[in-house]
Amino acid sequence: MKKEFIKEKYKYGFYTKIKSNTFPLGINKKIIKKISKIKKEPKWFTKWRLKSYSYWKKNIYKYPKWANLRYKKINFKKISYFSKIENKKNKKLIKTFNKLGVPINNKFDKISIDFIFDSISIKTTYNKILKKYGIIFCPLSEAIKKYENLVKKYIGSVVPYNDNFYSALNSSVFSDGSFCYIPKNIKCPIDLSTYFRINNETIGQFERTLIIVEEGGYVSYLEGCTAPIRSNNQLHAAVVELIALKNSKIKYSTIQNWYPGNKNGRGGILNFVTKRGICYEKSKISWIQVETGSSVTWKYPSCILKGDNSIGEFKSVSLTKNYQQIDTGSKMIHIGKNTKSTIISKSICMDNSISTYRGLVKICKNSKNSNNFTQCDALLIGKKCSSYTLPYILSMNSTSRIEHESTISKIEEEQIFYCNQRGIDNDNAMSLIVSGFSMNIINNLPLEFAFEAKQLLNIKLENSVG
């Protein structure tokens, strides 16, 4: 009975039985070389992986402990670092993605999707149309071979391998991910999207995304993710790098719906992600995220505003329940003059969950006339959840302006009763109030995603008023 209840809550929690070649557990140089070999990577790349690994190994005891998160120490020896299904055309794959609501063969209107299953990219749709514009959208492992110079120039340029513990791990073992290149003055006519699916039980997923937009270009990129229900924790450590050259725009939207663990806090994805973009002159990067998944989330999508007049945005809404923990926020590093950044973080916190906003706004000495606006709103439901706001603010000149606003509120019983009095039941009342609370963020998502995000929030809210 109880099992069914949980299943119903996380409808993506099924497992696909499929033949795959999964590496033995553990990580060492041999494993890394083997990954590199399977992928037929050039030598410089294998070297880069090994360099990352040495750094990671050296720092194995220095994994980040500063976050407001409690979880069992991760045993890196008990993870498999690579899993490749034997046959990419296996019908079970088609069925899996159909069940997830992202059919591989059924073309979505105006979205090109890269499907990633465990460690491997399965298929990318809409390729022909993109080619017409000179847009490259393909698995990163393919790009390493086909567009070697581009990858060589940019990979690790925004998030260096030694940036942090998990970026080092990712740089050494990452298996696949998406690569996207928008040529000069091209506005990508369709949304590009990657759908991540973790299927295998012992695998860690380490994908890497690299997006480069040339001068005057534009792209809207979407990322979605799910995983089966497991009683063990699974590791997901991704790196995303965005490069926005002069006058370009990148909009990066995420709907994160990893398995969040069960009612008692068992299982779920441990999500340690480094996402960062660099903005050159007059360019703009927007991070928009809807977070409902993972049992533990550690993630700070950031912008380095290097060019003058560049703009960075971070808009996030998170909903946590049961024993979920989330430590998230953004970093805005202002380097160029007249740079602008906005951070809007909304968190909805239920049950025993803990939600922390952690953000850095740094305005450097030469970044004259820059400004930042930060707004953190938390909505608490119930008596056992907690919410924290930890802003780090640093301004090194006198012509810039930084604003920080923060609120914590509870859903008032009066509001629920008012809705009830109009014939609206508790679930729908909650959903109305929460959708109002998160409206500003969800409206920034591309249309289909906005709809999905609203539904996702509603499913998670069911039965939340006793």
Partner: protein
């Protein structure tokens, strides 16, 4: 339509309603008056089924059905509407989306037409529909919003809790005229319970009964002449 029998209600273990009886028949208009803290608002909340208000004894019947233990959304669906004294605000949720969420028919075109028509009647600027629910509305605008919802929900019993507070005289006239029109349209089916401080209300609406509530009980019932007496002597005459 509504029958309240020997009702005792407490909140946080404080007894507020202490043996109250009330009967409202179809098509009747009742006015309940009383000094502050006499239990007026509690009475309206308990009829609407507000959580945390506990019925210790007695019964509330609506069309011969006991509604003591019904959830507030179910009570609303039976056809009981409460116009709040202080309606809530909901940030980020437009007035239109809120109203749409409780409308039964899902034909979008007609919904909007229907709402527009009612806004016109109540002198509500259509622009308000896209504004966040009650956010930054004046007291009068909030009350108009309540009555708009009433006209859309078409309740059998309407309870007006301090409808006059925050309203200027023209708006009050307009609102009461709309309510009167609504009741008179199907006189055999619709009733009204007005809870107020404002004795002048009888200049605009003619009640069948007037009651004085004090210390959780109805201590005096009569017709509209009772209001004149209250105006003249105050409540004290009846209390002693």
């Amino acid at each position: 339509m509504l029958k309240i029998k020997n009702l005792y209600v407490s909140i946080n273990k404080n007894l507020i309603i202490k043996g109250l009886n009330l009967k409202i028949k179809k098509g009747e208009i009742h006015i309940i008056m009383g000094p502050n803290g006499s239990g007026k608002s509690t009475l309206s909340y308990i009829i609407a089924g507000k959580p945390k208000y506990k019925i210790e004894d007695g019964e509330i019947l609506f069309n011969n059905k006991i509604i003591n233990n019904l959830k507030p959304d179910k009570i609303s669906k039976l056809g009981i509407f409460l116009s709040f004294q202080n309606p809530v605000e909901i940030d980020g949720l437009s007035m239109y989306n809120f109203i749409k969420s409780f409308i039964k028919k899902k034909n979008n075109n007609n919904i909007l037409k229907n709402i527009y028509k009612k806004c016109e009647k109540l002198n509500i600027n259509k622009k308000y529909l896209s504004r966040y629910f009650n956010l930054g509305f004046s007291g009068g605008e909030k009350k108009k919003n309540e009555i708009l919802q009433m006209l859309i929900l078409k309740p059998k019993l309407t309870i007006l809790d301090e409808i006059d507070s925050g309203l200027d005289i023209d708006s009050l006239k307009n609102i009461l005229n709309n309510i009167k029109q609504y009741i008179n349209k199907k006189k055999k089916k619709r009733s009204l319970l007005i809870i107020t401080h404002y004795t002048n209300i009888i200049n605009y609406i003619k009640p069948n009964f007037v009651h004085i509530i004090y210390d959780g009980k109805i201590i005096k019932s009569g017709n509209k002449k009772l209001i004149k007496k209250i105006e003249k002597y105050g409540y004290n005459k009846f209390i002693n």
